[in-house]
């Protein structure tokens, strides 16, 4: 590197200009791409909700199918949930290891799980990130929220309607999912049927 002498003034101006240019570029890009990103996110949310009741939607026809199958509703204490022909879909929100995790769970009239889906902001791929896979979501089908929340456990008992296999290598995320289900159970207690469990 050639030994040039840069004055303090130069350094201050240089860094100020650099940072302003970087900020400008990022602002322009962020503002101009925002509408497309929001659209993608909304479509994805609709796709997720539809998937819990077994309707596969693409990002393009999600809005249309959503309008056809899903009605939005509000609980007595002001929380949003969704209804479909055959039951309710409750939203799930919680915290994983690195950031937020969320999902939706479709329950039939008896509180039995018809379908579930999970997603995350930044869980470790291959470990906690596995909650976003179909394979994980399918473990919930046939379990029940009625009479107590579902929880994740190592080597879960397949016949226990409240136990679901946790993710190996993803203990912290699995604990987050358990906590999230507990919260949802408390918040949506009134719409989850409390009929006695029949196995």
């Amino acid at each position: 590197m050639a030994k040039k002498n840069f004055s303090n003034k130069y350094i201050f101006i240089y860094s100020a200009v650099l940072v302003v240019v970087a900020a400008l570029i990022l602002t322009v890009v962020s503002v101009s791409l925002k509408p497309m990103q929001t659209k993608n996110q909304q479509a994805e949310q609709k796709q997720m909700i539809l998937k819990t009741i077994g309707v596969e939607a693409t990002r393009d026809n999600a809005a249309e199918l959503y309008a056809k199958h899903i009605t939005e509703a509000t609980t007595d204490n002001g929380l949003t949930y969704y209804t479909f022909n055959g039951g309710d879909i409750i939203p799930l929100k919680g915290t994983g290891l690195w950031g937020p995790i969320w999902g939706y769970m479709a329950l039939d009239a008896d509180g039995k799980v018809i379908g579930a889906i999970f997603d995350h902001k930044g869980e470790t791929p291959g470990l906690g990130g596995e909650i976003a896979t179909d394979k994980f979501a399918q473990r919930f089908i046939g379990k029940t929220m009625a009479g107590g929340p579902i929880y994740l456990k190592k080597n879960a008992d397949k016949n226990n309607p409240f136990e679901v296999d946790a993710i190996s290598g993803g203990t912290m995320t699995s604990n987050g999912v358990t906590a999230m289900l507990q919260t949802a159970y408390e918040n949506y207690f009134d719409i989850i049927s409390i009929a006695p469990v029949t196995q």
Binding site: M1, A2, K4, F6, Y10, I11, Y14, S15, L18, V19, A22, I25, L26, V29, S30, L33, M36, Q37, N40, E44, R59, W98, K121, G122, E123, T124, P125, G126, L127, G129, S168, G169
Partner: protein, 204 residues
């Protein structure tokens, strides 16, 4: 140094992971499966190439006392930019990337190439150097992702290879250790061992 060497050397004799031992943290964290490993490899390659060229163009104007800060600003701007564009145009890929974005900024290979190469070389040479190092990093990442996903989860790119081969039927079990980060470290160690035994001149 010949231009071709700039691409070739980072593959073997000067591999960023095997020889310089840079970028190991991301190499351990994202290789539990093949797909994120490939996405990460591509993203790092893109960022290191662009950052190298930009820093090389600016190199004579950058005051040495604040060069690391300048490099960081360039790298983080690029990474955020890439993330924003992906979120708008290829949403699915951006979901795959999510956690890696932060990792790219802190990837030692990017900073290492900027500091050691782009600060003193012309843009074209810096472009080739970035490409070579990005690909040298990619090769190791993809190899690790391949082995770890195949032996740890029994799948490749999500396709259930072991199940289709019918190995579970005859008592085969996935190796749970393979999906844990420590196993990646052991695998990298084995690759370095093999690499050194082939290249005796690298041994100290």
């Amino acid at each position: 140094m010949k231009n071709f060497d700039l691409i070739k050397l980072p593959f073997s004799k000067n591999n960023p992971i095997l020889v310089q031992v840079l970028g190991v943290c991301s190499c351990l964290a994202v290789t539990a499966q093949l797909k994120p490993a490939v996405v990460m490899a591509l993203s790092v390659t893109v960022v290191v190439v662009l950052a190298n060229v930009i820093i090389s163009l600016l190199r004579n104007t950058i005051p040495p006392r604040i060069r690391i800060i300048v490099q960081l600003v360039v790298v983080s701007t690029l990474v955020v930019l890439v993330d924003q564009v992906l979120k708008a145009y290829v949403y699915d890929v951006s979901k795959q990337l999510s956690v890696f974005v932060g990792l790219i900024i802190t990837n030692c290979i990017v900073m290492g190439r900027l500091e050691a190469f782009a600060m003193v070389q012309k843009p074209w040479a810096s472009f080739l150097d970035g490409l070579g190092n990005g690909l040298g990093y990619s090769v190791i990442l993809i190899a690790l992702g391949f082995v770890r996903e195949l032996l740890g989860s029994g799948t490749l790119w999500g396709y259930p290879v072991m199940e289709k081969l019918g190995l579970y039927g005859i008592g085969y079990e996935n190796n749970g250790l393979m999906i844990m980060p420590p196993m990646a470290l052991i695998l990298v160690g084995l690759i370095i061992w093999w690499h050194r035994s082939k290249n005796k001149d690298l041994c100290e």
